[in-house]
């Protein structure tokens, strides 16, 4: 049927005028949107206050969802557990015996390590306590950008740039904060760049996000690619933002300049996250100021795209 549209009114002058005004406003809205978009693209922090205020109000609505999501992840494992209880029990018993022996060996190594460090006057680096531990309440699912929302903000001491980690590894970094909520730039966002090194040796690389939600590991020193599928990558500490040694990614597929991999800490299975302080603020400032050469400066590029928002 022909729609009872406002357009089709030819008898009512008022209806015609209001339809015309509607078009004018819609056209102006499109232009305004384009202007705002340009401002946002060049100055990403421009509307963070507005976003923060809106998120503060909406974030509590994400809590039940976060609980359901992490619960749903466990459900299938829980059902599967019933089918494997017997064989699993047997296997775990054997693993436990092996682990007991390993534990004693570990304690011996640890004691030796302490003794050697004392010999060298090596100052033990203290673990940094997290600024806040909070729930991940939401994540963008329609846009190609990968942001998550957490349920703690500047009132909990959170500031832009702080690393966000879950129990299984690095998740991302804080991008902007509201009073009671904050936005996290996830590792697999295409604008995210994290300096990493291979766990077993010091092959340094960058982990950057990919459109499909995985990570691309780009080696800093090009040449013969030493990576193998299954290699584990941890933060290297370059740039001063992330404490060295946080697990980041595992390599799946080797490419010419590095590898394609995936995040160790799957955001979908993440419920609680810890927000850590910036590891080494002095080093981070130097890196963002461009005072350090090579890796740090390159890291700074990755950060400054976001650091503009700090």
């Amino acid at each position: 049927m022909a729609p009872p549209s406002i357009r089709r009114s030819s008898s009512s002058r008022k209806a015609r005028l209001s339809a015309f005004t509607g078009y004018v406003i819609a056209g102006l809205a499109a232009l305004l949107g384009a202007a705002l978009l340009i401002v946002s693209l060049f100055q990403p922090a421009a509307f963070s206050g507005l976003r923060g205020a809106a998120r503060d109000v909406a974030a509590p609505a994400g809590e039940p969802g976060a609980i359901a999501r992490s619960g749903g992840q466990d459900l299938f494992a829980w059902i599967g557990g019933y089918f494997q209880a017997g064989s699993q029990n047997d296997r775990l018993r054997r693993e436990l015996d092996a682990a007991r022996i390993k534990l004693v060996e570990m304690q011996a190594v640890e004691a030796e390590n302490r003794r050697l460090k004392a010999l060298l006057d090596f100052e033990a680096e203290e673990e940094q306590a997290p600024v806040a531990t909070t729930r991940m309440v939401g994540a963008t699912a329609s846009s190609i950008r990968r942001f998550a929302f957490v349920d703690a903000g500047s009132s909990d001491g959170i500031a832009a740039g702080m690393p966000v980690a879950s129990a299984s590894g690095l998740v991302g970094r804080i991008l902007e904060t509201g009073r009671h909520s904050a936005r996290v730039l996830l590792l697999n966002d295409m604008e995210s760049l994290v300096p990493v090194r291979r766990l077993e040796d010091d092959v340094v690389a960058f982990a950057e996000g990919r459109a499909d939600g995985g990570l691309r590991i780009r080696l800093v020193n090009l040449g013969i690619n030493p990576l193998k599928p299954g290699d584990l990558f941890v933060t290297s500490g370059a740039g001063g933002l992330f404490r060295p040694g946080i697990p980041v990614a595992v390599a799946d597929e080797i490419t010419a300049d590095g590898a394609l991999g995936h995040m160790l800490s799957n955001p979908a299975a993440t419920d609680f996250v810890a927000i850590m302080p910036v590891w080494n603020p002095a080093l981070h400032d130097a890196a963002t100021a461009g005072a350090l050469p090579e890796a740090a400066a390159e890291e700074a590029d990755g950060v400054s795209a976001e650091a503009g928002e700090e």
Partner: protein, 186 residues
């Protein structure tokens, strides 16, 4: 009065009893806007796909209202609704304001050109709008999007296209709720 002589629809229709009741202006105005705003909160749903998979539900909702009740949403509805969506979607602020306003204008143009339409034509128009929207949103996302992104947008596009008839049904249901005669008169 004799019960049997009365047309059964004289006292009731799908919107409820006609006697002593009328539409609530609050519901009639608020439901379309509220439903689109609520759909904008979809980032707080418990889905964390690795790549953009969840359809732009708020835009689908807006398209649904546009097709189910043409003229109900004014042409400038993309301004306030898009601004709200931009606060949560992860897109840079202004992206949805611009793209939704353009979509509303485009649909008005389609309506002027093809006044006699059915559901299939509406669906086709929605497919065109969704395709342009999803690719344009990726282009204006603020990330350095290169052509390698395109394959990762297709599942979302397909899901959005398939979801449109369902959203249109949901909107039709909401429209019934919107026009329910719940206000008592007299």
């Amino acid at each position: 009065m004799i019960e049997g002589d009365l047309n059964p629809s004289a006292r009731r229709d799908v919107f409820g009893s006609k006697i002593n009741r009328t539409h609530s202006p609050i519901l009639a105005i608020a439901i379309p806007w509220a439903s689109v705003l609520l759909a904008s909160l979809s980032p707080f749903l418990p889905f964390f796909p690795g790549f953009p998979l969840v359809p732009p539900i708020a835009l689908l909702m807006l398209l649904g209202w546009r097709f189910v009740r043409p003229g109900l949403m004014p042409s400038w509805a993309g301004l306030p609704l898009g601004a709200f969506d931009d606060l949560f979607s992860g897109q840079p602020f202004g992206s949805a304001i611009m793209l939704w306003s353009l979509a509303m204008l485009a649909l008005d143009a389609v309506e002027a050109r093809f006044p006699w339409r059915g559901f299939w034509q509406d669906w086709l128009a929605a497919i065109a709008v969704l395709t342009v929207y999803i690719f344009a949103a990726a282009l204006f996302s603020g990330a350095h999007a290169d052509p390698s992104v395109i394959p990762w947008l297709l599942p979302q596009l397909l899901l959005s296209i398939m979801l449109f008839p369902i959203v249109a049904r949901i909107v039709a249901r909401l429209d019934r709720l919107r026009l329910r005669r719940i206000r008592r008169i007299g």
